[in-house]
Symmetry: C2
Subunit: 404 residues, 2 copies
């Protein structure tokens, strides 16, 4: 038996590994097709997004494997321009190699990466706002808790060529937002991005790094140790299969994921032409709140931030409180609303709540053991709940807050 | 013969001196009455403004000298509330001493101060936008050119407790705006204000200082030399008669004059509660463009500027070009529009233009001698005209630009 021309003996165990659970036949085909599509179409390919949305990932891949004419593809896409369809065929066909998809899956399995598809419980809803430009799949090295925490994340981005001022402000911002229950999203670049991740880790907060290449090869290489640590306690995410190298185009498209996955974007330090202004542009296009941190007008490294405030209606933000105001967190009752759905973030909250006592203080490790959640997940949830007055930290651990 | 109870032998020569020209009987009475009113009513007194607007300054003073009842004053003001009228009577009557007005005029004459009234050619039109809160008179030590230059002025204000950063940015701003043909308005305080004036003077630009007390006693005393220099080549202006001390209230009211007399206000450095935010508030209330210069978020001295950008829709301005954009200067043809009115700014322009050649470069001193304008006036006008491409500076002086 084969699936898309690949032997099932080989592919099914791989797919089960990257899914992290057993899958039925339809799920296996969906997963393989999305793995393949993530290598066939470049990030943000509108035509690929439209075809997959129209037919489903597996039927779309089957259509492509039949070497359709431009007219056939245009008909499948319900578009009038065979030239657009022909251009898509010309882009996709050279990459239509099931063996490439297989190689990507093998590399993913080797580094323990998972493959998320939109139906996944931990799929970050924010990226769906990209519509036809949404990613077809996400390759992840990290925890479910970190993925779930994207729903309360703020992106902290900025220039690689950061100054001491920019790094200092980024550290304060990241640590301060973690203290307020937020997760920190960034791009793992040198300078501001790296500082944002590091400060989040140092504050025991959640952090997610979006990469422009495969998650098997951390980029930049000088951040290998940092990204390894993020993959352990947070998450490293890419829409490109393992083995793929970052390119200029992929960096720009990666920026759209940072903006879309977060509830707000803050640019901490950026020169007049910094790439982080591209992320800011995506946030603005998506209608996500956008903040920029001012700096000395004598510093070229802040010129991009001033430009955003002056010409692109970014909000001037000067401290973590003002950044948090860009995307206020929901109150606890809202978090509990769909607790009946097992595996949902709310279900984690119920389990955490069950493991808490209102009288005996319990450590995060104790709560993790009682709830079956990881310590990192417990710490993230406790931080958010503390902010909402649902839990309190005592000298010897955490207690459930008593009301009225 | 007496005027408002003061001997005419004494008062007429004084009034002629502070007017700077011969006056007819009506003008003499108007001038004396406004001199008196400027000592009777505190700056910004809405009731005094309304009474003078209703009756004229001299009839209003005569009404007051008849010790009107609250009902009579309310009738004159066409208001329904005799209590408001009574409060005004209570404020004004203790100060209704023609001898005080005489003393103020004597002090003014001694220091060479002039008294401007709204009908004066050099009265700054901007302050009339204050309506009932407009000043009743302005005491001036300085040049007509400096007063006229208020029509192309930008107010540069900020905290007394300025940092090296704030002073540096202020120096660049003031010099850069002077280079672009603007006059610089400020409040002569230590810190940002003082730097704004100094840099304008150093760049041979026009500058005007508004004081909260009489122009005979410069405040702060540490800026005596600076204010003396401003009075020589620019102008020092106050709505309070000579001999009056600055008070907290008068500083706040002085700020409204800075905002109203200028075409735009820029706050260069200000703490969270700096008095310069009061000036910014006046500018915003008047609908004048308001700019603020960002600084490090780690500097408390910039917190007020960030507050203005964040919460009060001040424009983020980072250099003189962006400040100039707040209040673009008219093009040359508009400046020439009412050239038939002798003594008007446009008339100065015509005289300057007549003194220029399109072939022989002439120095500012040469042009001043030919036109009958002061060197400072010539330099101010040349700066504005150069910006508009009407004149050009050659190695040995200025020429009229040839067109087409």
């Amino acid at each position: 038996m084969t699936m898309f021309g690949v032997g099932e003996n080989e592919i099914v165990p791989l797919l089960t590994t990257v899914a992290g659970r057993d899958l039925d036949r339809g799920e296996l085909e969906e997963l393989f097709a999305r793995a393949a599509w993530s290598g066939i179409a470049e990030p943000g390919d509108r035509m690929a997004g439209a075809l997959v949305a129209q037919l489903g990932a597996a039927p779309a891949l089957r259509t492509l494997m039949k070497s359709p004419t431009a007219e056939q593809l245009a008909a499948a896409l319900e578009i009038d321009k065979p030239t657009d369809a022909q251009a898509a065929i010309d882009r996709w066909m050279p990459r239509l190699k099931p063996s490439d998809a297989l190689a990507g899956l093998k590399r993913a399995a080797r580094v323990g990466a998972r493959l998320l598809v939109p139906s996944d419980l931990h799929w970050p809803d924010g990226v769906d706002d990209l519509a036809e430009h949404a990613p077809l799949a996400l390759w992840v090295r990290g925890t479910d808790a970190a993925l779930d925490a994207l729903s309360r994340s703020i992106a902290l981005v900025g220039a690689r060529a950061a100054t001491g001022y920019g790094e200092h402000v980024t550290m304060e911002a990241s640590a301060g937002l973690v203290d307020r229950g937020y997760s920190i999203v960034s791009g793992a670049a040198y300078g501001i991005d790296g500082m944002a991740h590091r400060a989040a880790l140092a504050s025991h907060g959640q952090t997610v790094a979006f990469l422009a290449g495969g998650v098997d090869r951390f980029y930049p290489s000088g951040h290998d140790a940092l990204l390894t640590r993020i993959a352990e306690v947070g998450a490293v995410v890419s829409e490109l299969p393992c083995g793929q190298a970052p390119t200029k185009w992929r960096f720009l498209q990666r920026n759209r994921l940072i903006a879309a996955a977060s509830r707000a974007t803050v640019v901490l330090e950026a020169g007049w032409r910094s790439g982080s202004l591209n992320t800011a542009g995506h946030a603005a296009t998506l209608g996500r709140p956008l903040g920029a941190v001012p700096g000395p007008v004598t510093s070229a490294a802040s010129a991009g931030c001033h430009r955003l405030i002056r010409d692109y209606t970014a909000i001037c933000v000067t401290n973590p409180d003002e950044m948090a105001e860009l995307a206020p967190l929901e109150t606890a009752p809202a978090l509990f609303s769909d607790a009946s759905d097992p595996g949902s973030p709310s279900s984690d909250l119920v389990r955490l709540y069950d493991a808490l006592s209102s009288r005996s203080p319990r450590t995060a490790a104790d709560i993790a053991a009682r709830s079956g959640l990881s310590i990192a997940e417990v710490q993230g949830l406790l931080g958010a709940l503390e902010l909402e007055g649902e839990v309190a930290e005592r000298e010897r651990g955490w207690v459930r807050a008593t009301r009225g």
